[in-house]
Amino acid sequence: MSTMLLQGGHLIDPARGLDAPADVVLRDGLVAEIAEPGRTKIGADETLKVKGLIVAPGFIDLHVHLREPGQTHKENIASGTAAAAAGGFTSVCAMPNTRPINDSPAVTRWMRDEERGAVVNVFPVAAATLGSLGEKLSDYRALKEAGAVALSDDGAPILDDQIMREALALAAKVGLVVIQHAEDTRLSHGNPMNEGVTSFKLGLRGQPAASEWQMVERDIRLTSQEGGRLHVAHVSAAKSLQMVRLGRASQVQVTAEVTPHHFLFTEESCSTYDTRYKMNPPLRSAADRAALLAALADGTIDAIATDHAPHALFEKEVEFEKAAFGITGLEIALAAAITELQHTGMISLSRVVELLSTNPAKIVGLSGRGTLAEGSIADVTIFDPKKRWSYEVEQTRSRSRNCPYGGMQFYGKALATIVGGRVVFNEL
């Protein structure tokens, strides 16, 4: 079996409070040894020189759309995971809104099958209700056995209180987290952007922030009654964060993620009807964005997740109201976090790793991941936090290019991605 030495890097492993120079030895798909520089005891067949670079537990994206089965003109598991690897992600949690919807152990297993050609670990998030119709719960126990790590009707939020109660209660029993895309569609009406000054100017109907935070408030209330764990997907509104804080203060087990685009942009980016800025939840006001940044710094937000949502050009190059919701993001998430959050002095590199690896692993309960403790799985992300680069969307590994990041200047780039001891992306 091969043994690999990661030599001369700086190890950041927030799970163990480590932030220091260290050599790391990987063997048989596991972390075999962590030692002071030059002090490793295990001999290695192969050495990766990572001087000046950060060695971190592999990044885990809690929220991606890989579009397979069923919508492979947008993406497939092979292309989506290749993009993930290029962005430094060693694991992705794949949302169930595929065709068919992933509400069955058969689809869950099919997605995990080696035949799909995944480059990084794929952990399916299964539909919380059959067909994501919000009517009848899917078989949580069987889904968990098949490999699902969480339950969600992402994109088709569970509106019915009773069904949400049942989902939380059963998920708690089975030991899975419920991820809710918090949106009261009776208030948002599928409107194409945030309701505010910009939507008024553009003559577009808006989604009020209340359509999100009122649902977060309800979900937290139901979780406090039913027990179990709630994870709020892609928080976008300031008031939703208040709800999360209140929930935690009363001991409800609630976590939250934010996307790069919500902490990078505001609704004003929509002001030329550029559909690359159309996503759901929509980009919100400057005040909302400021609140997200503060919550990333103060710990209210637990994770950065991309909501990578690939779409073909013909689905985006249409009237703003008609265009598909969503934006790709796997390849720029780390760079966005470093550029916007760390480079500005708001948060430390260790906190960046916590948001991208340590916490996501805990939220979906991926044991042996999210840390580089000896004996844990050899999923490693090696990145250069200082590297200045410009994203070339034409070079993307994704099948789709629906994002505005092309040509944008960033700091921070993943240079090598190691999954189970195997290098799957290497720009060292």
């Binding site: 505010g196 000054v197 939507s199 008024f200 100017k201 553009l202 003559g203 577009l204 030329t272 009807y273 013909f314 190059e317 249409v318 009237e319 703003f320 109201e321 008609k322």
Partner: protein, 302 residues
Amino acid sequence: MKAKLRSLLGIEPLDSRQILDILSLAKRMNPARPRQTLRGRRIALLFYENSTRTRTSFEIAAKSLGASTVVIHATTASIEKGESLKDTGQTLQSIVDAIVMRHPSSGAPVLLSRLIDIPIINAGDGMHAHPSQALLDAFTIMNHKKSLKGLKIVTIGDIFHSRVARSDAHLFSKLGARVVFCGPDVLLPETARELAPGVEIVREMEEAIDGADVVMMLRVQQERLSGMQINVDEYVRRYQLTAAKLKLAKADAIVMHPGPMIRGMEMTDEVADCGQSVVLEQVLNGVKVRMAILAMLLGGKR
């Protein structure tokens, strides 16, 4: 010097000089005295939404300049079959010189202008903009008031759904008028204040109209209300322009309406037909202003 205007997508991107240039050119236009400025030019009138007034106005304007026109309705085979706006636009681009476009979706002309290279004239998009209407409104006001500077122009009714109100506000604001919006909360959100500099919101019609130079009435767009709770009797009581309310405006105030007007709803018969109403004048001015727009965008180059 600013680059020559290529398309007319809205009022917001224009500066006051460009606006005044179009308005002064419009003064020299008259459909009763046709010109050959655009002889041999082909203009497509691409209408994804029904319109009699605007379409006819543009068609007469184009023909009065010697251009030939072709009207394409959304019910046209290719569009009904699901052809995208991009494909329709690219197809038209190879056979016409400009597209006058009406579309129910806000921003559609902006999208099309990014995808093709011929001039696009926005003839109304969703709730967003109706620049030729705003220009003809300004033209009409200037026929009566010389300049817009310092005028109090009050727009009353369904502001939220109105592309005319948005374009008017941008234009009136750029030319130095006070823009007062008046209407109920559901049809006039507080965010409307941020539309352009100098926009005010006054909820009570009597207060809004007090001392006004221009009273612009809007139609209640019942087809766009979709679920909003509007009590028609209550609306008429609070926001209908009656002769008594009109007395609160300046004695020489003019009454305008972008049409189509619903008598007994926005205004009484008495007001609609009174000497202060310039509604019919707006229609004739519409043709002149649209002639100026087409001549400005298409004239003098091949």
